[in-house]
């Protein structure tokens, strides 16, 4: 390590123009979005809400009914994301929605590079021991896949 090198002399202002907010559309997602809106207001940034629909992997040999239910579930998620975006847009117009399907960490990383995000905001939850055991939190996975800064915050009420 060369500790004597000076800290890089960049401009001291911080400009964040695009914030990508990863939402899972549970009730605590609203808190994450509100948190992100506050940051966006502070920086004058635009918001992109991304939801990744992850279909269950055990549906390869499913019947037609299962596929129909999954399709309804996917459309429901899309509708909830649209509703959330509309609510936010009423207060903060610079807000758009992105809906994708696949692995959440991979898709969030892809979306971040697509929209050229300057910051990704992720809400952390699944604080039960079972959730921790199964590593349900996506935050650490996302952090290691993206190339822009990530802000992880606890969105649990407790």
């Amino acid at each position: 390590m060369n500790n004597t090198e000076t800290v890089q002399e960049h401009a001291t202002t911080l400009k964040i123009r695009t914030i990508l907010v990863a939402v899972d559309l549970f009730s605590h997602s609203e808190r994450t979005v509100i948190y992100a809106v506050s940051i966006a207001k502070r920086f004058g940034a635009s918001l992109k809400l991304v939801h990744v629909y992850a279909p269950p992997s055990s549906t390869e040999f499913g019947s037609e009914d299962i596929y129909r239910l999954l399709d309804e579930d996917r459309r429901g998620a899309e509708r909830r994301l649209r509703n959330l975006t509309d609510q936010i847009r009423a207060i903060y117009p610079k807000c758009e929605a992105l809906f994708t399907t696949g692995d959440p960490a991979d898709q969030v990383a892809r979306a971040a590079s697509l929209v050229k995000a300057d910051l990704i905001v992720i809400g952390r939850h699944h604080q039960t021991s079972l959730g921790r055991f199964f590593r349900l939190d996506q935050a650490p996975k996302i952090v290691h896949r993206v190339t822009c800064p990530v802000l992880v915050w606890e969105d649990d009420d407790n």
């Binding site: 390590m1 060369n2 500790n3 004597t4 090198e5 000076t6 800290v7 890089q8 002399e9 960049h10 401009a11 001291t12 202002t13 911080l14 400009k15 964040i16 123009r17 009730s27 609203e30 808190r31 979005v33 509100i34 948190y35 809106v37 506050s38 940051i39 207001k41 502070r42 920086f43 609510q87 936010i88 009423a90 207060i91 903060y92 300057d118 952390r124 921790r132 939190d137 935050a139 650490p140 952090v143 290691h144 993206v146 190339t147 822009c148 800064p149 990530v150 802000l151 992880v152 915050w153 606890e154």
Partner: protein, 167 residues
């Protein structure tokens, strides 16, 4: 939840919303380069007009606690060198953000210590680095970062590369 009401509440300057950040904590492994996270933290501190706290970690020499009396010189020398390195970072940071302060911890980079310090400090944000490639990170460090991301009640800002910030 009424999103409109929540947003109106947050926009009021009560000092608790993300629009108002008073203390930023930056854990630094003193055996490594901390330029990336420090640069990001300085920019954040400047933007929020916040106090910047550099928490220095440095692994001590392999001397058991019982033998420290006998190896006092080695121990003190290590401690002093580590604190000098921390002050070096602090003084560099002060050139850009004057309200930068040191906090010294004489042990391994540890997520629990960072969380405890953030709580004591009532930090509004912790700025940590992540290696762009996992090749440079040891499993232990990565585990500490992940533990911090999973357990910290304080928001964690993972500074990846300053190039993403518009100059």
């Amino acid at each position: 939840m009424n999103i409109r009401n929540e947003l109106i509440e947050q926009s009021e300057p009560n000092g608790n919303s993300p629009g108002f950040c008073k203390n930023i904590l930056v854990p630094i492994d003193l055996s490594k380069d901390a330029k990336a996270e420090l640069d990001t933290a300085i920019r954040l501190a400047e933007h929020y007009d916040a106090d910047l706290w550099l928490l220095g970690f440095s692994s001590g020499p392999a001397i058991s606690a019982d033998a420290r009396g006998l190896c006092n010189y080695v121990w003190n020398s290590w401690s002093r060198r580590a604190q000098v390195r921390l002050w070096d970072w602090v003084l560099q940071a002060r050139e850009r953000h004057y309200r930068t302060f040191p906090l010294f911890v004489g042990g391994h980079y540890d997520a629990h210590e960072i969380i405890r310090t953030a709580e004591r400090l009532m930090a509004d944000m912790i700025v940590v680095p992540v290696e762009e490639s996992d090749r440079r990170a040891t499993g232990f460090e990565e585990a500490q970062t992940n533990a911090l991301l999973r357990k910290s009640a304080t928001p964690v800002f993972v500074a990846i590369a300053p190039r993403h910030f518009t100059k």
